[in-house]
Amino acid sequence: MYDRLLAVPVFLPIVAGVALLAMNGWIRREKRERTMQWLVEALVLINSLLVAWLIAGCGGRSGSLVLFRLYGQLTVMFRMDRMGSFFAGLVAFLWPLATLYAFEYMEHDERRPAFFAFYTISYGVTLGVALAGNLVTMYVFYEMLTFATFPLVMHPMTTEAARATRQYLYYSIGGAAFAFIGLVTVLAYSATGTTGFVPGGMLDPAAAAEHRNLILFVYVLAFFGFGVKAAVFPLHDWLPKAAVAPTPVTALLHAVAVVKSGAFAVLRFTYFSFGTALLRGTWAQWIVMAAALVTITYASTMAVKEVHFKRRLAYSTISNLSYILFGASMMSPLGLAAALIHLLAHAFMKISAFFCAGAVMHHTGKNYIYELDGMGYRMPVTFACFTVSSLSLMGIPLFAGFISKWSLCEAALSLGNEMGGGAGGAVGRVLPYIGVAVILYSALMTGIYMLSVVVRAYFPGVVQQMKEAVGGGSDGKAAVIVSQGKSEANQDPSWLMLLPLVIFAVVIVAVGIHAGPVLRFLALIGGEAG
């Protein structure tokens, strides 16, 4: 019974979303959007509770459910193992809150039913990625995710959105093609004859040893293929462009669900399909690690240069996703655990940051960072949450980001130690240390690009400084602007937006202060798979 229920959380939202699409016209004609919204929220919430129950019920055993066979050994199968339950739990926690946020954000939108339909479908598909029991299933849902989310990117229906959508589709589908090569190779060399995930990998060692370089090459291809969704350089360009989508989409999908599915997929096939024993210390490992490090450096630098609020956050996402990929590329238990803790921490920090940006855009129409002077006084709660997420992104102690960056650096150094014996060659000896330096550099850049927003919001004297720097404008004028900024009424959004924000901030601090249970759980995953 338990195993059968595994399919429910995946298909319930998909069915509901399709039904919503079918009734689109009727809802709009009868003006039942509000009822529809609350029904959607209730459904999402029930689904999340179901996921929670399934996770709680899975205990130690990992039940599995074979839904149907595509052909031969190609089955669509769901399974709730530790890693899957981790990602599923994360998604299930965020989705109801993000839906709540979307109510207020989309209140003036024309095509709400369509939006919520695809938003809900994406929920099911993401859970499908999380609960997939083998590579085939994951690949299927990974492809479906592309198609479930592109209407959301296109939602504004502008030329810009259309371009972004087109790019998103090209990149994702192209990437999936490379991933497909990986899938086929895994099936060909599989020790079990299936593609089911096995902690520590399931390639046949003897067969794999014969064609080692071929398999490594395929691994690199598949890494970049799945890496498209994780925005690894040079396949990252779709992500900043996709920031045209409505904020609930950018926040939940392009900071968590879609991009984390990419990172999750990379972790899955690295640790559960190819297996680290085969990859560790090889040239393939150094190539993917170098790609992750280049991405981190690149994206954090570009974020400093960007002045559009959401695009800056998007670049920050690119850099942080590569932190996860950096952890993945360490091919060690510590690396996997560090990647997962960063996956968790970044999900909360970035969704919170995006939601703040969205609240500002929605309530004041300000899109650029230089317009944010003194906003900290006008939207106090929003910016308090933003400050928490900024500090966390920087990796300041007491916040979740510190824990994850510390774990990553620790894992990198321990890898450096391990490679000291010459197992990884000259590159392997140096690369982990460079990785640590890159993370610190990126933390510095994060400090610049996030704190500059916070400082503007809380110390509007910057206006004056700019005026002076330009040479025009008298102090009096600047003072007027400042006082206006401070005197304007509280513009914080309603509880629909604030509740998610506050919950995220609390989680960030809670994880930052007491990360022990999470770390222990992740150490278990790392221990079994690394």
């Binding site: 040079p234 102690p397 510390w406």
Partner: protein
């Protein structure tokens, strides 16, 4: 005296757990912190009264207090780092408080130094953690000793001592149950307990369970570094950078002269007095804990200290801004402390007792905290009345304000190292340690120079404090009206006697300092009582009246300031009673070696050093400051001149260009190039190539045909055919035409009008041409060739079949 009053472990805090401890050193510094925050808190009430953002200030004021105490209590570098970062961020708000462009710029510098310093320090911590697998301050010092003595990886005996050190730490925390020391073979202080928490978990002697998940294997040197020693040095240097940035050590002192003048005065007092000491705390941990007996490290710290003290004092002599001078003085005093720490390492490295150096450094830390509290608050008193800090503008402000003068004088005498004040004691100890080391190594010229740098810097300290004191409290302002206004700002008590009571009659109220302070307090009480009894509507009126002859400081503020100032001479006078005990409490933290012996602070030998410094100071003051650094202002007075070239600023000259121009230029260009050109270029190139290849493959068959036509199926040039070759057409056409003509001439047809028709010959010729052309095309075409081949094949086939059947 290594007593521990409190030892708290909070496992799991921020992932690695938190370890706080209260021993002698930490106790002293917590008391100092409480004292400083209390006094500045009282002072802030008045200083901040007119600021709108008070609430923000107080929140961060107390948050920083908590973080600072956390740093001093930490017994684990991880905990230290956590509180250190929190402290950096909360104190940022102090510096940026005014939100003027200058303060924001200063705050930016402060934050940049703090963040960069923090990151670099974190890198050092990573390396250290990587090497040892622990960041417990006590454990790393034992392990570092093993590394430095070449005893690495650990042998059994050392492992025991580590286990003992850990045991001490753990049992104090009440966690003895988990302690599993297994002293056999190398690196056995660490025991691996599998199973309980997954296969990879490594418990480091059962210490903090949170370490369990780390799974890193301590004991092996990082592969990046050739030896464990190299890694330890690198880690130490990185941490020194991080802590040194906070302490204000040269060349990272840049933030102090900018941030201190901009922050509110109570905050400057704390920034200078105690926040810099958190940096010193870290330097002590690194220097005395990790490299306590290392000669080259000691030398590095001592040289850095000497440079820092000299540079700071030199800047202070040139400065003409009250708070900036004090900030530069802070740099200089930190240099004294660092020199003391350096000497402690050096003395230990040659096997001498380093008691003098350790006690000197520690006492100077405490003393400097107290001096700067008093001095910055005095500066705050000036600023909150005048909103100016330029010496020429505030000149003469302190006249006829005995309480303020008393406080400032105590601070100045203390910091100047005048005998009987506390600064003299600590400076003497550091001086003695230099002399001790110099004698131990045979007195080379370099150390004689160091001693003279020390004495000369002491002289400069005297000189710049004299400059400040004379400018604020002795000289009159160039503008007599302003001076009159300043004189009118006396306290309630002073006003009664100076301004209203025919002001110039100062002699009648010149009493001993103690009684003066007492009187003052009495007056303070009265006035406070009066204030409270006033009805509210009259309060505004009284404030307006206050503006007329404004009271420069409220009574409770005055009281706090005077009491804080009185501590300095009290400490100095009871040096053996008070300061020696403080030093006893703190010295264990420095890993002191050798026995403390009572130092006769006022012995002639010790007094000589102080006297030399004072003489140098007085000479410097009259020769350099009054001679070179003052200029006539045109109205017959001499004013303080800003002789420091404005371009000579380490930050603007080096750091900002590097950070703001060079780094962004390099990274920005590289990535801008990548973003703008490389990726699109790669895409375009890919598309072009793939299109080309695709087209080529598309038209592959065409090319085949083309090549075939050029080679195997080359066409024979057409034979020129005669024009009149359409023989059949001409013959048949002629016949038809003739027949037609004949028919039309028949007599019975003659009357009929026959339509004019085209001659048949022409039509037939055209047809034949057409037919021949078609035949040509067919014959010449590829398909015709293929058809012929087919026909040939068919014929061959038929032949073969026929042959088979026939046979």
């Amino acid at each position: 005296m290594n007593q521990v009053w409190m030892d708290v472990v909070i496992p799991g805090f921020c992932g690695m757990g938190m370890h706080l401890k209260l021993d002698g050193f930490r106790l002293v510094y917590c008391v100092v912190a409480v004292l400083m925050w209390t006094v500045s808190g009282i002072f802030s009430r008045e200083y901040m009264a007119h600021y709108a953002n008070r609430k923000r200030y107080y929140i961060f004021f107390w948050a920083t207090f908590a973080a600072t105490v956390g740093v001093f209590l930490s017994a684990n570098l991880f905990t230290t780092f956590i509180f250190f970062e929190i402290m950096s961020f909360t104190s940022y708000v102090w510096v940026a408080f005014d939100e003027r462009s200058a303060s924001l710029k200063a705050a930016e510098t402060y934050l940049a130094v703090a963040v960069i310093g923090g990151m670099v320090m974190l890198m050092g911590l990573f390396l250290l953690y990587d090497l040892f697998g622990t960041l417990e301050i006590e454990e790393i010092s034992v392990l570092a000793d093993a590394v430095m003595s070449g005893n690495w990886p650990l042998q059994a005996s050392d492992a025991l001592s580590v286990a003992a050190a850990e045991g001490a730490a753990v049992s104090a925390a009440g966690q003895t149950a988990a302690l599993v020391p297994q002293p056999q073979g190398a690196v056995t202080a660490y025991s691996v307990i599998g199973g309980a928490d997954g296969p990879t978990s490594v418990w480091i002697a059962g210490k903090l369970p949170e370490l369990a998940w780390s799974g890193s294997t301590p004991g092996t040197p990082g592969s990046f570094f050739p030896t464990a020693k190299a890694q330890l040095y690198t880690a130490g240097a990185l941490m020194l950078f991080g802590f040194g940035a906070k302490a204000g050590c040269f060349p990272l002192h840049i933030w102090l002269p900018k941030a201190h003048p901009e922050a509110p005065a109570p905050a400057s007092a704390l920034l200078s007095g105690i926040l810099t000491k958190t940096g010193v705390f870290g330097i002590i941990v690194v220097s005395c804990g990790l490299f306590g007996a290392d000669h080259s490290w000691g030398l590095l710290i001592a040289v850095l200290g000497l440079i820092t003290m000299f540079v700071g004092a030199f800047l202070a002599v040139f400065s003409i801004n009250l708070k900036r001078t004090l900030a530069c003085s802070s740099i200089s005093q930190i240099g004294f402390i660092l020199t003391g720490i350096g000497m402690a390492c050096l003395l230990r490295s040659i096997g001498e007792g380093n008691t003098l150096a350790v006690r000197g450094a520690f006492l100077h830390m405490v003393n400097h905290s107290l001096f700067k509290l008093v001095l910055f608050l005095c500066a705050g008193a000036v600023y909150m009345n005048l909103h100016k800090l330029d010496l020429n503008e505030i000149r003469g402000f302190g006249r006829k304000k005995p309480a303020l003068m008393f406080a400032f004088l105590m601070g100045a005498l203390g910091i100047g190292g005048i005998p009987l004040w506390n600064g003299y004691v600590s400076k003497t100890l550091i001086h003695e340690s230099i002399v001790e080391y110099m004698e131990a190594v045979g007195g080379p010229w370099a150390w004689r120079l160091a001693e003279w740098v020390f004495l000369f810097t002491g002289g400069m300290t005297v000189a710049y404090m004299l400059k400040l004191f004379v400018a604020v409290f002795v000289e009159k302002n160039a503008d007599p009206k302003l001076q009159e206004q300043y004189d009118g700002m006396g306290s309630e008590f002073a006003r009664k006697h100076f301004s209203s009571g025919n002001g110039k009659d100062a002699k009648t109220v010149r009493k001993g300092k103690g009684s003066e302070a007492k009187d003052h307090k009495g007056a303070a009480k009265n006035s406070a009582a009066m204030e409270y009894q006033k009805p509210i509507e009259k309060l505004h009126a009284s404030e307006a009246a206050n503006d007329a002859h404004h009271v420069y400081m409220r009574p409770e503020t005055t009281a706090a300031l005077v009491i804080a100032a009185a501590i300095l001479p009290v400490l100095g006078l009871t040096a053996h009673l008070s300061m020696d005990r403080i030093a006893d409490l703190g010295q264990e933290f420095f890993h002191v070696q050798g026995h403390a012996h009572t130092v006769a602070y006022l012995s002639p030998a010790n007094l000589k050093g102080g006297a030399i410094s004072i003489c140098i100071g007085v000479i410097l003051y009259f020769a350099v400051i009054r001679g070179l650094l003052m200029e006539p202002d045109g109205a017959g007075n001499r004013r303080y001149a800003d002789r420091w070239p404005s371009w000579l600023d380490l930050e603007n000259l080096i750091y900002r260009p590097i950070l703001q121009v060079a780094l962004p230029a390099v990274f920005g260009t590289v990535f801008g190039f990548l973003d703008r050109y490389l990726v699109p270029a790669a895409t375009t190139a890919f598309l072009t190539v793939s299109t080309f290849v695709g087209r080529v493959m598309d038209s592959g068959v065409d090319w085949l045909v083309r090549i075939a036509r050029l080679t195997t199926h080359k066409q024979v040039p057409a034979v020129k055919e005669p024009h009149d070759s359409d023989l059949a057409a001409h013959v048949i056409g002629g016949v038809i035409d003739a027949a037609r003509a004949f028919r039309s001439r028949l007599p019975w047809k003659r009357r009929e009008k026959l339509p004019v028709r085209e001659p048949a010959t022409a039509r037939l010729v055209r047809r034949e041409e057409q037919f021949k052309g078609n035949m040509h095309l067919i014959q010449e075409s590829f398909s015709y060739g293929l058809m012929l081949v087919c026909v040939g094949l068919c014929v061959t086939l038929i032949y073969l079949i026929w042959g088979f059947l026939g046979w």
